[in-house]
């Protein structure tokens, strides 16, 4: 167990092979091959419109790929029986780009949603868990009873982070976790993600185009360009990747 009653996780392995996805004539993913080992924090970088979010949605089962395989702990998420896939998905957490908090519920019900599946049960215990999660992400107890619309964007992001980790996931996905935040709040979120994933021991898969974020969060970085992974390596090799497209992206050069 780690602090606040959260269990230490063993993480989950993820292996993606030959993943393709098109919308009409537009090829978004063109044979993505990628993997992460249990407990690893993998960051996928890439420009806007390169298919990062589509990749994440395919892995999460929110969008079916055209071809290819996605193995999470050796379960084929494109072909395995539904019950097996659901079992794996129950071990995943997700932080959406815009938070995606439920407007109709207060903060503590949002945080414990994965535990209650939206049912109003064990309210006292659930609120206590939510307050512990809020503390983990640096928010006060008073926030628990507010609605998402009553808190700032940065606070919403932290509440969404608390929701993503509340059910002790083995695999956590972060979709542009720092988009729309000022540099100070972005830095806070980056360190929270790093500490939480290291603390819990979960595998983390983050998509971002924020290089500062990638450097803090990642053990390993992969770059997606025109639907393919064009480079992958440890975060400390990011500055010296030897790949001109990665260099251009990392240093923000126009050409």
């Amino acid at each position: 167990m780690v602090e606040d009653g959260q269990q230490r996780r063993k993480g989950a392995s993820i292996e993606i092979a030959g993943l393709r996805k098109s919308f009409g004539d537009k090829i978004v993913l063109d044979g993505v091959n990628l993997g992460a080992t249990p407990g690893e924090s993998l960051v996928i970088i890439g420009g806007s419109g390169t298919g990062k979010s589509v990749l994440l949605k395919c892995i999460l089962g929110l969008m079916p790929p055209d071809t290819g395989t996605i193995l999470i702990d050796d379960v084929d998420m494109t072909n395995a029986p539904r019950s097996e896939r659901e079992e794996v998905r129950d071990r995943c957490g997700m932080l959406f780009q815009g938070g995606a908090l439920f407007d109709s519920m207060n903060v503590w019900r949002n945080i414990t949603f994965a535990l209650t599946r939206g049912r109003q049960r064990k309210s006292k215990e659930m609120r206590r868990i939510a307050v512990a999660m809020l503390e983990k992400v640096g928010l006060e107890e008073r926030v628990a009873d507010l609605r998402p619309a009553e808190i700032s964007g940065g606070m919403q992001k932290r509440v969404a982070l608390a929701r993503a980790i509340a059910a002790n996931p083995d695999l956590i996905f972060f979709d542009e976790p720092t988009t729309g935040l000022d540099p100070i709040r972005a830095n806070t979120i980056n360190h929270l993600i790093r500490n939480l994933t290291t603390g819990i021991g979960a595998t983390a898969l983050t998509i971002t185009h924020d290089m500062e974020s990638a450097k803090i969060i990642a053990d390993r970085v992969a770059m997606l360009h025109e639907g393919r992974i064009i480079w992958s390596g440890p975060v400390d090799q990011l500055e010296n990747s030897g790949n001109p497209l990665v260099d251009q992206f990392v240093h923000g050069r126009a050409k």
Partner: protein, 261 residues
């Protein structure tokens, strides 16, 4: 020649295929929601919330619609009937028209205007802000959590609303006939009771149940499939209301022909 013919028929043909495709998609959507509702976990609190939102809060608008319609109907029947000395038919025609047609149809349209739009807007907003995707990642089936309670609430609550609307519509006719047209109150009620049959009430309730299901289905279907941000939510809301109206009118025609034809 052949090419011109194909061009002439291709557009209406495509529209008809699109219409059948939409009906098919909406039917699969409804079947999926009903199937989801049969499996645990169940969400009774969500159902109660929808019953209150759909039923209790629609009472004023349905009640007022029925009151005004019943009164106006009595006046029209009186004026029309006086052309062939049939003023005394006011109570009988009013109750039959209200119960068989006007209360379920106008009630359905009013509730569709209020509820289908709200459902489409709420679910559409949830779709574009990724809240529906978030539900899926939080071990929850959106069909069980969002759609099924709305469809069941619509089907349960509309017959009750229409039952109330029937009574208020008759009351509207009574008030106008007695206080403006000089009818005897006791006679009016006696004639109303004599001409009202159980079949009328049952058909009224059946229609209302079907309309309730359809108006919730159209709101949910268009909201759930929203695409394209705020403009998409606007389109979903409009489509939800318009398609609910059309479905209610079409279903009314089919049921009327089947029951009274």
């Amino acid at each position: 020649m052949m090419e011109t013919l194909i061009q002439v028929f291709s557009r209406p043909g495509a529209a008809i295929i699109a219409l059948f495709a939409s009906i098919g998609r909406a039917s699969i959507f409804a079947a999926r929601a009903i199937w989801s509702a049969m499996r645990p976990p169940y969400y009774p609190i969500r159902l109660i919330e929808q019953l209150i939102s759909l039923g209790y809060f629609s009472l004023p608008v349905v009640g007022l619609t029925a009151l005004f319609t019943g009164a106006a109907l009595a006046q029209q029947i009186y004026v029309g009937g006086s052309r062939f000395n049939a003023e005394s038919t006011v109570p009988a025609v009013t109750v039959i028209a209200m119960v068989r047609e006007l209360a379920p149809v106008l009630g359905g349209l009013m509730v569709a205007g209020r509820v289908s739009s709200a459902m489409a807007a709420e679910l559409g907003t949830m779709r574009v802000t990724e809240q529906i995707d978030a539900l899926k990642t939080l071990r929850t089936d959106p069909f069980q959590f969002l759609i099924a309670p709305r469809l069941f609430a619509g089907t349960i609550v509309m017959p009750l609303l229409v039952l109330v609307a029937n009574a208020i519509g008759v009351l509207g006719g009574y008030i106008l006939a007695v206080y403006r047209l000089g009818f005897n109150g006791a006679n009016y009620l006696e004639t109303t009771r004599a001409y009202l049959e159980w079949d009328d009430i049952v058909s009224s309730m059946v229609k209302a149940g079907v309309f309730g299901f359809l108006l919730a289905l159209m709101g949910c279907y268009h909201g759930y499939h929203t695409e394209g941000g705020a403009a998409g939510v606007g389109r979903a809301t409009t489509n939800g209301v318009v398609s609910a109206f059309l479905m209610i009118l079409l279903a009314n025609l089919i049921i009327t022909v089947l029951v009274f034809g």
